[in-house]
Each structure stands twice: as structure tokens, then as C-alpha cells.
């Protein structure tokens, strides 16, 4: 071990103490302590993030990249510091490759709109059956505009991607391959490095939807070698309305602007305009400055945490919840049993619709997501209209799982008498 490594502060893995740093988790809901198990939809923020956004709003509120006054300089410094934090967090080569957006959805729309301009009839976009609507619909719209064809790689009965079928659908016609790192509806972890290699071999550009991966594992965009990686702040303990598009400089440089406006130009005249350099070329208008500062604080927070321990802890919660669900809740069935699976438990219970489950456990203070999870094709694939989904974060504990199981047993009692 080098001297530098010895001096590094020890990464935190004291999950009970970490939980105490999330004020929202200390409240009562319907008179019961909150068990928040809807982290795949949005995760709670620690005090450190809340203080950073409050400070930005209280004292540093101003516009970025414009003013010469102190507040604007402070806001700009905080905004650009966040960009460098994100760069380090995902191991991008330069801050030019970190574009701030409204979230994963806008990041994907940016690529579909801008990179998509070069698509033509005969071209194909390859996605998978696991995708969230935000990684389906932008490509559908692009295909409608361009005459390109949307191709979908199937999944197996356990919810894992059929990699051979994915590969078989790649060809010289494939211009873009877009796939989730982790499925929001089922928790399946895709072999994204392998998929990226195969897509690159076919000559396609690769976009990875990392919204569900970034909060739970370290992501290294250079190791993955993807061309684009999209994620959202609010699923990684940061604020809503802010996200990131990582893009390789060479690819981003070759793309036309996404939206026009302030900040993305160098010069404007009525005869024509010239565009700003990366990353500003893709950041038209005043960005969500407070959100970005909060995202920077969330990255700082996550940098103190032992992600290997996070994975083990979340996996233990998933295994415990799965076992208790299947042994103690009559008629329960898990949807999505891929060998590589994140801490997402999607399930149905015979004779009880997911919405009714959601309402009943809510009254016990347990927050879960119910419905189609913005992944209707996944629901259709498994022949269900909706599932209930418990998704875990490092601040969850075994008591949260016990409360979920008790709530589900209450639902069975109400429905079966």
C-alpha cells in the first residue's frame, strides 16, 4: 500500500449511521415510521446535499457564465466544480464530456435529436426489451422522423437479456445501440461492457442508460468505452430536475447543437451563429444551477462511501426480502430473476392488484412503487398489467423489509379474509 493510499480516509460502510443522515427517513407516515422502498423511482437526499442546495439558493443565487459580480462568480465556480466532481465520479477524461441536462430522459433525447440527425432510411437503432420508456420513445420518434428502423433485442424468461440475440440483431445498418445498465422494472444488470464491444464491432455508437446503476455501483465510462452514458441526480441522492449526459468528445464534437439559446453560442447575427465549445454547445439557456450544485454535493457524499459494501448490503436486503416474500406471503411471485440482479424486487400476488398492495402497505408506512414502471413492454413480456416493486438503497435495513412483509400479509388478510 502506498503512502497516499494510507492517508486516504477510510470509506464509510456504517449503514445505520449513514441512515441517520437522511432527514426524510426519520418521519412518521400514517402514524408509522417510514420504510422508504421506492429508491428506483427517486432516492432521498442526505443533509449534506440539502445544505448545499440551500446555501446556493440562500446566498449564491445568480446566473452562471455571465456576471462579473461576486455572486455570479461563486455560482459559476460551484457549478463548474460540480462538473469536475461528476467527471471524476464516472472517470470521464475531461469536463468537456460532462453535459448537464434535466435528467436521464433529456440526456437520451439530446442524443436522439442531435446524433440522430445523421440517420436515414435503411439505418437501424437497436434497443432491448428491458428499456424504460425514456430509452424507447426518443428512438421511436427518431425513427419516425428519419425513416430508420427500431430493432428490439429480446429477453429471457428470467428477465436477462438474450445476448446472442442482441448480437444477431447488430449489423452494418445499426447506427445506435441503446440499452439500460440496470433495468428499473426488474433489476437485471446487463453485461454493458460486452454489449458495447459487440456494438462497436458492428460500427454502432453506444448509449447506456445508467439511471439505475450509478447510485449502486461505481461506473467507469472509460472502462466501459461507451460513447454516451446518461443518468439522473435524483436517483443518486441528489435533487430532481438535474442529470448528466456523458459523451466522448470526438462524438459530441461531430454533433449539431440540441437546443438553441444563450450559453451555447459564441456569436449570433441574423445571418448565422457560431456555437460554443463543449460542453456548453449542448447547454442552452440557464441551467438548473441549484440542482447541479446539489448533484455535486451528492457526488461528494457518495465518494465517502464504500461501494463494495453497498453492493453487499443491498444484495443481502434483496435476498432477505425475496426469501421472506416467497415463503411468508401466499401467492407471491417474483418477476425478474436474472442471475445478475440489482436490489430491485418486482413481484405480483395472486388475486391482489399491485395498486391495492401499494395503498395497503402505504398505510403501514411502507413506500413502494406499483404499476408498469414506465416499462410497458416488460410488463407485456411477463403477461402482467402491473407489478409491485420494492427497491433498496444503502440506507435501508432489515427492519424495512420486515415492515414490507407485514404490510403485504395485511393485504392478503384483507383480500382473502
Amino acid at each position: 500500500m502506498t503512502a497516499a493510499e494510507l492517508e486516504k480516509p477510510r470509506l464509510r460502510r456504517d449503514f445505520a449511521a449513514l441512515r441517520g443522515e437522511f432527514p426524510a427517513l426519520e418521519q412518521l407516515v400514517h402514524g408509522k415510521p417510514l420504510a422508504y422502498l421506492d429508491n428506483a423511482a427517486s432516492s432521498q437526499s442526505p443533509t449534506a446535499v440539502q445544505e448545499a442546495t440551500a446555501l446556493q439558493q440562500r446566498l449564491n443565487h445568480s446566473n452562471v457564465h455571465r456576471g462579473v459580480h461576486a455572486l455570479s462568480e461563486r455560482a459559476t465556480a460551484a457549478f463548474e466544480a460540480a462538473r469536475d466532481k461528476v467527471r471524476g465520479f464516472i472517470n470521464a477524461a475531461t469536463t468537456k464530456e460532462v453535459i448537464f441536462t434535466r435528467g436521464t430522459t433529456e440526456s437520451i433525447n439530446l442524443v436522439a435529436a442531435s446524433f440522430g440527425r445523421r440517420l436515414a432510411p435503411g439505418d437501424e437503432v437497436l434497443i432491448t426489451w428491458l428499456e424504460h420508456h425514456s430509452n424507447i420513445v426518443p428512438w421511436q420518434l427518431l425513427c419516425e422522423r428519419s425513416g430508420a428502423r427500431l430493432v428490439v433485442a429480446p429477453i429471457r424468461d428470467d428477465g436477462s437479456l438474450d445476448v446472442a440475440a442482441f448480437e444477431a440483431r447488430l449489423s452494418s445498418r445499426t447506427r445506435v445501440a441503446a440499452f439500460a445498465h440496470v433495468s428499473n422494472a426488474l433489476g437485471t444488470i446487463n453485461p454493458v461492457a460486452e454489449l458495447t464491444r459487440k456494438a462497436h464491432a458492428a460500427g454502432a455508437v453506444v448509449l447506456i442508460d445508467g439511471a439505475q446503476a450509478v447510485p449502486h455501483q461505481r461506473v467507469d465510462v472509460r472502462a466501459l468505452d461507451c460513447d454516451f452514458y446518461a443518468f439522473s441526480a435524483h436517483k443518486m441522492y441528489g435533487p430532481t430536475g438535474t442529470g448528466v449526459l456523458f459523451g466522448k468528445s470526438a462524438v459530441l464534437d461531430s454533433m449539431p447543437p440540441y437546443q438553441g439559446g444563450g450559453d451555447m453560442i459564441l456569436t449570433v447575427s441574423f445571418e448565422g451563429s457560431t456555437y460554443n465549445a463543449l460542453p456548453y454547445k449542448f447547454e442552452a439557456g440557464t441551467p438548473n444551477i441549484t440542482g447541479v450544485v446539489g448533484l455535486g454535493a451528492a457526488v461528494d457524499y457518495l465518494e465517502t462511501i464504500d461501494f463494495r459494501a453497498v453492493r453487499d448490503h443491498e444484495h443481502a436486503l434483496l435476498e432477505y426480502a425475496t426469501r421472506r416474500l416467497l415463503t411468508e406471503v401466499p401467492g407471491a411471485k417474483v418477476i425478474g430473476t436474472a442471475p445478475a440482479k440489482a436490489a430491485v424486487l418486482s413481484f405480483v400476488i395472486d388475486g391482489i392488484h399491485a395498486h391495492d398492495l401499494g395503498t395497503i402497505v402505504d398505510r403501514e408506512g411502507v413506500a413502494i412503487r406499483t404499476g408498469h414502471h414506465c416499462a410497458m413492454p416488460v410488463m407485456d413480456r411477463f403477461g402482467v398489467a402491473a407489478t409491485a416493486r420494492a427497491s433498496f438503497a444503502f440506507y435501508n435495513n432489515f427492519d424495512d423489509v420486515d415492515r414490507l412483509i407485514a404490510g403485504l400479509r395485511r393485504a392478503v388478510e384483507i383480500f382473502r379474509g
Binding site: 391482489i352 391495492d356 395503498t359 404499476g371 398489467a385 379474509g417
Partner: protein
């Protein structure tokens, strides 16, 4: 009775378990598809209108207990009713689902079993589950026939 039992009253659970008038209606004169985009609930309502009367009515679809029970209770209640009666009932149920009890000028009188649907008032996210079938009914028997109904 706690709040959950208020929502999941026996009549709701019964109509969810054994929905009345469930299935297609081959000689329907009106067919309306209803969808709740929030949750993906879908229902198709089949109505056979004859001389201003709902001669027969059936429904199909998937949904939560509230939505299935509401469809079932609705079809049971309006079968044999006139279009005018059905539309008046729509207004009363809509009021029941969306306003506080003391605002009901007519009170729950005459709603009978339908009063059980009032339990959703305490659950704002579930009001749409109960109202989908009624919007489909209104669309099916109203003058302006809309082929698709959503709760949005």
C-alpha cells in the same frame, strides 16, 4: 373500522372477486375503451342501447380492486336504466368521489351499494381507479361518442 377497511369494504371486495356483467357483449351498439395511463389499467365497456334504454351492459379489462368493483357496481346499477338516469347517476357518483360528504346536496340517499365507492375520497391517487368506469359509461351513452376515454 380503520381507514383501509373503509376503502376495502366487503361490497368492494365481493365485486372485485366476482365481477358482475363481466365479458364481451356480442350485440353491443356502443363499445368504449377506457384507460388510466397512470397505472395502465384498461377496461372495455360494451353497451346495448335500445330506445333510450341501456338494455344490456358488460365490461372487460384488468385493474385494481377499486377499478374492477366500480365497473361491476356501475354495470349492475345501470342495466335497464334510461340514458338520462345513467347520466344523472354519473354526476352523483362523480360528486361522491371528488367532494367531501357535507358538500353533497343530495347526500348518499339512493346510491345504495355505490356509496361504498366513497371510500376513495381519502386516497387521492385512487380516485381515478373508481372513476374510469363511470367516464366510460358517460362516453358510451352520451351524445358525443368518444371511442377512447382516459382519466387524464
Amino acid at each position: 373500522m380503520d381507514e383501509l377497511q373503509e376503502l376495502y369494504r366487503e361490497v368492494i371486495l365481493d365485486h372485485n372477486r366476482n365481477p358482475r356483467n363481466f365479458g364481451e357483449l356480442a350485440d353491443a351498439t356502443r363499445v368504449v375503451a377506457g384507460v388510466n395511463p397512470l397505472c395502465g389499467d384498461k377496461m372495455t365497456l360494451y353497451v346495448k342501447l335500445a330506445g333510450g334504454t341501456i338494455e344490456d351492459i358488460r365490461f372487460r379489462g384488468t385493474g385494481c380492486a377499486i377499478s374492477v368493483a366500480s365497473s361491476s357496481l356501475m354495470t349492475e346499477r345501470v342495466k335497464g336504466a334510461s340514458v338520462a338516469e345513467a347520466l344523472a347517476l354519473f354526476e352523483r357518483v362523480h360528486e361522491l368521489l371528488t367532494t367531501t360528504p357535507h358538500d353533497h346536496p343530495q347526500g348518499p340517499d339512493g346510491l345504495d351499494k355505490l356509496a361504498a365507492l366513497g371510500g376513495v375520497r381519502e386516497y387521492p391517487s385512487r380516485v381515478k381507479c373508481a372513476s374510469l368506469a363511470w367516464h366510460a359509461l358517460k362516453s358510451a351513452v352520451g351524445d358525443e361518442l368518444k371511442a377512447n376515454v382516459t382519466t387524464e
